[in-house]
């Protein structure tokens, strides 16, 4: 996904050219000279067929196709139809069509627009849900993408989210303050604690050269048990009167406000994510700090020789990354699931965010777009499961296939027999 985001994908044009290419598969790769002399129309066609936009569309298409196969082979009706396939093959096809279209239509209804809804707010609610789920994915994705740009792998999203969320919850439930102070304070403390937690990996890397992949993975577990411990102590996080490892619900004064009123679940966490996107974009592309992150990420030896403190860059990248990932945890506790923090508050987002960062190519707006896409899958998945009884796990399969195909344009082009740019 490019820096500019998905809005420059010419969906209409691609369709037309797509057909053209299919009709003319001979127009293949080897023919460099001919293309060089070809008409402007040909040049434009070539630009589109070799461009990223078409590959993106086709990647999604391919991933959905494989998802369909899985649905087909496990759908009870389709299998039933196949049992008498030779007697009445049409049934199999009808069932197959029902299964697949049912799945994707419900995915759409759950993610974007529900035409079955009786009121307007019910109809457009799915898109707001999508944005709600996109917020933590984007925040954590930004954090992880930022470390990627600095040449680091932050696999520690889970731990950072847990610590950030738990710290925010602590401030929220233990203090009694007016909202104007309480909410910002809880957010800040959450981000800060997560930043320090992430910073451990950066510090150890800078001081001892410890491989950050190991350290962050280990810190996930350590963080999990720490938070779990806190949740079993009344003095720390556990709700009074309860034996469950869960905190009290968040007080009103520390809850991220709703963006579209009480009828929708979309809360200010999404605003936080959008702001963070701009902030990270600024850091990476316009700030000296971000310049140094990128320099260190691309060539640490050259950066060092040019006077950049590489260890400090590692440490500060992890601090910022931890803070962003921590905000995802804060978003969960103070926004999405406000009835109390638990040791499951990360909800797998810390890992999903790695994929989001990869899909967004570690570019801030790419990550925002990828976060929204994944949020849509998430939100649509619930609807699909409820209406079609298809396990949401299929969404994982489709998501990961999209990322893989997007990362390998030549493969997609080979599958669809498109010309490749570097003929």
């Amino acid at each position: 996904m490019s820096e500019k985001g998905p809005e420059n994908e010419p969906a209409e044009t691609t369709k037309v050219t797509d057909d053209d290419v299919v009709e003319d598969p001979q127009d293949s790769a080897a023919d460099t000279d001919r293309v060089a002399e070809a008409s402007r129309w040909h040049v434009a066609l070539r630009e589109i067929t070799t461009g990223n936009a078409l590959v993106a569309v086709l990647s999604v298409f391919l991933a959905m196709f494989f998802g369909s196969l899985m649905i087909l082979f496990t759908d009870a009706d389709v299998r039933y139809g196949m049992s008498y396939f030779f007697a009445r093959p049409s049934d199999t096809f009808i069932y197959a069509w029902e299964a697949i279209s049912g799945a994707y239509v419900s995915l759409w209804r759950g993610a974007v627009f529900n035409d079955l809804g009786s009121t307007f707010h019910q109809q457009i609610k799915p898109i707001t849900e999508t944005l709600k789920f996109a917020a933590p994915l984007t925040l954590a994705g930004l954090g992880i993408g930022l470390t990627f740009r600095a040449g680091l792998f932050n696999i520690g999203g889970r731990g950072q989210m847990l610590l950030g969320g738990a710290a925010a919850a602590f401030v929220a439930v233990k203090l009694d303050l007016p909202m104007i102070v309480h909410l910002p304070l809880a957010i800040l403390v959450g981000a800060l604690v997560a930043a320090l937690w992430g910073g451990i990996a950066g510090l150890l890397k800078a001081l001892t050269g410890a491989h950050e992949v190991i350290v962050t993975i280990m810190l996930n577990y350590v963080g999990y048990y720490l938070v779990f411990y806190a949740l079993t102590r009344k003095s720390l996080l556990q709700a009074p009167n309860s034996g469950n490892p869960k905190s009290s619900p968040m007080p009103e004064s520390a809850i991220l406000p709703d963006l579209l009123g009480p009828k929708f679940n979309l809360h200010a966490g999404f605003l936080l994510a959008v702001l963070a996107t701009f902030l990270v974009w600024w850091i990476l592309n316009r700030s000296a700090l971000g310049y140094r992150f990128r320099a260190v990420g691309e060539n640490p030896a050259a950066a060092k020789a040019a006077g950049i403190n590489v260890g400090l860059a590692y440490f500060s990248a992890f601090l910022i990354s931890g803070a962003l990932v921590g905000l995802a945890g804060v978003n969960q506790v103070l926004g999405s699931v406000t009835d109390g923090a638990t040791s499951g508050l990360d909800a797998g987002i810390g890992f999903d965010a790695i994929t989001v960062a990869l899909l967004g190519r570690s570019r801030p707006f790419g990550i925002l777009a990828a976060g929204i896409l994944f949020g849509a899958f998430k939100s649509g998945g619930f609807f699909m499961q409820a209406s079609e009884s298809i396990p949401v796990d299929i969404v994982l399969v489709i998501q990961s296939l999209i990322v893989l195909f997007l990362a390998a344009p030549p493969l997609v082009k080979a599958i669809f027999r498109l010309p490749s740019k570097e003929a």
């Binding site: 759950g110 699931v337 209406s387």
Partner: protein
């Protein structure tokens, strides 16, 4: 699709729609999610309807899943596990027309002793009572004088088993003046936990360590983790007996038949079934239900293959203890006991 052949699976004639949401364990957890779902399915078959089950993978999913189910027009929604409590209360308040059944939690977030929404029926089980009996049986059965237990995570719904078990053993030791020791649980949250409700090497290994402490009865509490104990028992080459939890393992998992001494029953299947049947007939009753020995909500499974191996007097003694617990002359402490 209306034009489908009549034999097509699961099509019914009632328009009553029962639904169920699992917690993060999913419906294959060999524990409360699975049993509640099975109870719901049976009820649905009896009524002639097709239930809608949805699984949650994380706590993110609870509210969204409930919302989708409401959108699907469910009449009754069963939510399984304390983790869904808050989401259930919220959904119930927003949808007063829909009926909710919450398993394993009182739905009392404000701790005023009352259910927070009138359309939620909380179902709880004082499994400590039944586990007490199991502890008594184990203490009687053991030859080494050591019995063990371990859990998935120190949640109250887990430790309540271990707690009751421990009290049962201690009661036996005191009344019979026999030295019997419990390993793997010391009370509160102190004990042996695998950290996850997953059948894995950690579960197997924990069972191994318990057997290594000379235990010859072992009670794993936490869905599929008992499968680890099966492997450990098999590997040890010793005569170690297993005590099942939730359902009668002898029936739900034939692989356990040679080793299962008895099981601590938590009759979620029956309770769910009953509530759904009643609800389908318009008799939804939101009063909280606490399963006890008294109302057969919890109990002890038969000894099956072990009938000949336990002491002859044991069945009568169990009767006696049961009566004692019922009439209150024997106290079993748990977070649910008044």
């Amino acid at each position: 699709g209306g034009e489908a052949p009549a034999e097509r699976a699961g099509e019914g004639n009632s328009d009553y729609l029962p639904c169920i949401v699992s917690d993060a364990g999913g419906f294959d957890d060999k524990s409360f999610n699975q049993l509640s779902y099975e109870g719901l399915k049976e009820a649905a078959d009896e009524i002639g309807t097709k239930p809608k089950p949805v699984e949650s993978n994380s706590e993110n999913d609870y509210a969204a899943n409930l919302e989708s189910l409401v959108g699907q027009g469910c009449d009754t929604i069963v939510t399984v596990g304390f983790a869904l409590s808050a989401a259930t209360i919220e959904s119930a308040k927003a949808n007063p027309e829909t009926e909710y059944v919450l398993i394993d939690d009182a739905a009392d977030a404000d701790f005023d002793g009352k259910t927070d929404a009138e359309n939620i029926k909380p179902i709880l089980y004082d499994t400590a009572q039944a586990a007490f009996l199991a502890g008594y049986v184990a203490a009687d059965y053991t030859k080494t004088g050591v019995v063990g237990t371990y859990g998935g995570q120190p949640f109250p719904t887990v430790t309540i088993f271990m707690d009751g078990f421990k009290q049962g053993v201690e009661y036996y030791a005191k009344t019979k003046k026999k030295d019997v020791k419990v390993v793997g649980y010391e009370g509160g949250e102190k004990g042996s936990f695998t950290g996850e409700f997953v059948a894995n090497e950690k579960a197997t290994n924990t069972a191994r360590q318990i057997i290594d402490q000379n235990a010859d009865v072992i009670m794993p509490v936490g869905g599929p983790i008992y499968q680890g104990a099966l492997t450990a028992i098999d590997d040890s080459g010793k005569d170690v007996a297993l005590i099942g939890v939730d359902a009668d393992f002898y029936e739900t998992d034939p692989k356990t038949q040679d080793v299962v001494l008895t099981s601590v029953l938590k009759n979620m299947k029956t309770s769910t079934n009953d509530v759904i049947i009643a609800a389908s007939e318009g008799d939804f009753d939101a009063t909280p239900y606490v399963g006890t020995l008294e109302n057969d909500g919890v109990g002890l499974a038969p000894f099956h293959n072990f009938e000949s191996k336990v002491s002859e007097t044991l069945p009568d003694e169990i009767e006696e203890v049961t009566a004692g617990i019922k009439d209150g002359s024997i106290k079993v402490n748990s977070y649910l006991a008044k």
